[in-house]
Amino acid sequence: MLQFFLRRVSLVIPTFFGVTLLTFALIRLVPGDPIELLVGERGIDPARHAMLRAELGLDKPLLAQYAIYISDVLQGDLGKSIVTKEPVLSEFLTLFPATIELSLCAIVFALLLGLPAGIIAGVKRGSAFDHTVMGVSLTGYSMPIFWWGLLLMLYFSVYLGWTPVSGRISVMYWVEPVTGFMLIDSLLSDDKGAFISALSHLVLPSIVLGTIPLAVIARMTRSAMLEVLSEDYVRTARAKGVPPFQVITVHALRNALIPVITVIGLQVGVLLAGAILTETIFAWPGIGKWLIESVNRRDYPSVQGGVLLVAVVVITVNLIVDLLYGLINPRIRYAR
């Protein structure tokens, strides 16, 4: 197990350095002079220009610049935002809980609906239910989620007035940020209204962000169930007289879940990409909206730091899924 662990971790390191190469190149590939980009359109006198160049290390050879960049990154220094002058890392960490909260709710929504739908569709193969699940999930998979969000907002928020249009909590409440997770913080604040408000703000964004994972999970669960149900051990269990429900939950489902877990792990990237769109539509103060705003404001240090951090999150989660997978399925562990 230790050997498997070390092998997987060592595979991640070159990828991490590759990403730093990409983010390092980001600022240097932008057409135009980085200093002029930093100071904006006000212009700058040549003496100050040279000083800033030296200060930022831009007068050194590229390799030396990269070495400095890497050593800063490894010490947690991702530079400062041009707009707010705050360190990029601390801005990211303030906003990240909002994105985690939204993504967790989205994946819970996707699992609660997708797993049962996929299992039933697989068991009742060829039935009307199966066809419906497959049709709906292909539609969900083809959904432009930014439009889906607007549509749900149009119907549930504007027409029916059931849910709030945007934001994380109503302006009526002030919740002390303790954990950064609005649901937990509002519970801690002893104000029932605040919790309900936070919850109602989460419903639509979670559905929107969870739509594509829901479609993927339902399809994957169905095909994994179909595969497992045709195995000999399932037939044996049935022949032994095990009740059908027990065959499905104990014999089939446990084995069918292995590929499903991998697919759930792969959704992290989908969720983070979807968060960019969902957060923009619902004015959700997370890292997706922040990244888009940074791109629009040409706040390159923030884009650079944000992209690196998102990549680190994706790489780390994929690594964890890989390791968990090895834990569940010993065949993976010993395969070369």
Partner: protein, 300 residues
Amino acid sequence: MTAIPTETTPGAVAPPHPIREFWSYFSENKGAVAGLVVFVTVVFVAVFANLIAPHPPDVQYRDHLLTPPFWQTGGSVEFLLGTDAVGRDILSRIMHGARYSLIIGLIVITLSLTVGIGLGLIAGFFRGVVEIAIMRAMDILLSLPGLLLALVIVAILGPGLFNAMFAIAVVYLPHLVRLTRAAAIAERSKDYVTASQVSGAGLLRLMVITVLPNCMAPLIVQATLSFSTAILDAAALGFLGMGAQPPTPEWGTMLAEAREFVQRAWWVVTFPGLAILVTVLALNLLGDGLRDALDPRLKR
């Protein structure tokens, strides 16, 4: 059916022509045929948008701002799906938008297929350092969520339709490179390749003429599926203001302009998105059908 007489093996029926065989598998899948019909319609609309659209896409009818669709009170048959905030006919804009979406899909696929097949074949044929370099670079691209990578590239190059297409093409590159490389490695060790090599075929001939045609099935399927995601991603970039710029009637850009009218005019928001959904769904159905028809493992 009449039995076809064969001289060499009496009693055996000649195999059907590959295209015929393909069609018989493909047409079994009702969803795929429906997808094909819808897709052909979209192509037709896109090609003849100039002739069949009731209005030019960018003419502003100042007396008809935010006219609802014809079946609602206040709507008129002159503007079947209503008009937007500056009085442009939505139906005509959607018809012209089909051109942008299809061209975006086509250019993205052509770009990433050409480069992807090239890199994949090189990685499959030249093992060692070249292969490692190419595959590691693809791993790096894969470690970022697709839309984020596209955003980064657009942030570097500046917003615009062409830069958005280029960015999306880069996003799809890793999948195509991996597929091509895997297929090329599998084919390379087969006897017909060795035979061709022994009879003196050069490396380029081996790569492009001998091996490549036999790697095409998975690539065609991937290309169709990428075509649909390219349309989605380009619309998403347009929606975020990073793709086609207004007043281009690109579907995502139309939705971005329509956002502020969510509360007042549902039709401005609904129809461009519906056009995206229908087109992408048709392409996905088509891609599923192609995969079933082209994948020999699924054939009985």
